[in-house]
Amino acid sequence: MVNYIWLGMIIFSIVVAGINGNIEAITKAALEGAGEGVKTSLHLISIIAFWLGLMRIAEAAGLIQILARIVRPLTRILFPELPRDHPALGAIIMNLSANILGLGNAATPMGLIAMQELQKINREPKTASPSMCTFLALNTSCLTLIPSTIIGIRLLHNSSDPTSVVGTTIFATACGMIVGVSVDRLMRFIYRVQGR
């Protein structure tokens, strides 16, 4: 599916640019996008290296497994197919906690660790496993208690109450999370019935 979305976006864009006489924008935008991708990945090296180092210590000390055990009642429902106390569960919980606290720099490396752990038990390495899809559904719709970036911007523009949007944000993201997890369940079911 990502194949068609990707293809469709590019082909449609080039046709539109051609009709509008804006064709020179394509090459420039493509190269800028490529540059942005490389820059983002390079920036990730530092935070991923740091957190992978620290998480290796946490794993060796048995802390990730303990964390996985503590949250088992919840993860048993969300990830029934994962082995008990699997290290992926610990990483998933740490990723979600960092997201909830608005610690983006810590959340990404934890998420990548979780993906690596999930990939180890994925039967088809090129295809997303159901656990991966559930994890990403949780991750992209995850509750944020403090939207710190936007509060900073509101403060900068002299808002009389910069944190007034905390409540509305929590409500909106909670709705998204509920629907995200429900649709994930539904898709799991549909794919299983179809034997895909």
Partner: protein, 177 residues
């Protein structure tokens, strides 16, 4: 309440570092060695995401710069206007899953034009804070392990984004409208 959560956020990472190192050293682990060993994988993990992010960001950038995105906006805006959704915020709503920095730029611009305490200001603040850059996250996370078939992950992500959008409009209307 807000103060308490902010305080927890401030302490969380220093505490995690302290706690992990403390327990590990009590167990007699060679913490420095283990850290270096783990960190040495950081480079490979980050570099592995480059082709996936390049592919995704190239498509998104072309889509924006060519004017194709503007056409999609025009098609969708009468539909969304029916739901009491202000047209100014639409660009932000559609940009949010595609590009985090571009969406933040639009949000900042709307907040400075309309004021942070206006209806549009509150709405765009809520929208910015409540959803994530779904396409970027999928490209990054799947890319880091070499998964190219996303199955239904995009459907789930976009369903959640759409719900968040509708919920934002509803709650901001109810509280600040």
């Amino acid at each position: 309440m807000y103060g308490v959560i902010a305080e927890i956020s401030r302490w969380a990472i220093p505490f995690a570092i302290f706690f992990i190192l403390l327990i590990a050293s009590l167990k007699g682990l060679q913490v420095f060695e283990i850290f270096v060993e783990g960190a040495s994988e950081g480079f490979a993990t980050a570099i592995k995401t480059i082709p996936y992010l390049v592919a995704m960001l190239v498509a998104i950038n072309i889509f924006r710069a060519s004017g194709a995105m503007a056409i999609i906006f025009k098609l969708l805006s009468p539909l969304l206007n029916n739901f009491g959704f202000p047209a100014e915020v639409l660009t932000h709503a559609l940009m949010r899953p595609l590009s985090g920095s571009a969406a933040l730029g639009i949000a900042t611009n709307l907040i400075s034009t309309h004021g942070p305490d206006s209806f549009i200001g509150q709405l765009v603040s809520t929208m910015q804070g409540s959803t994530d850059t779904t396409f970027y996250v999928l490209a990054l996370y799947f890319g880091s392990v070499g998964v190219t078939k996303y199955r239904y992950a995009i459907v789930v992500g976009l369903a959640a984004d759409l719900t968040t959008l509708i919920a934002s409009v509803y709650i901001v209307n109810k509280i600040f409208g």
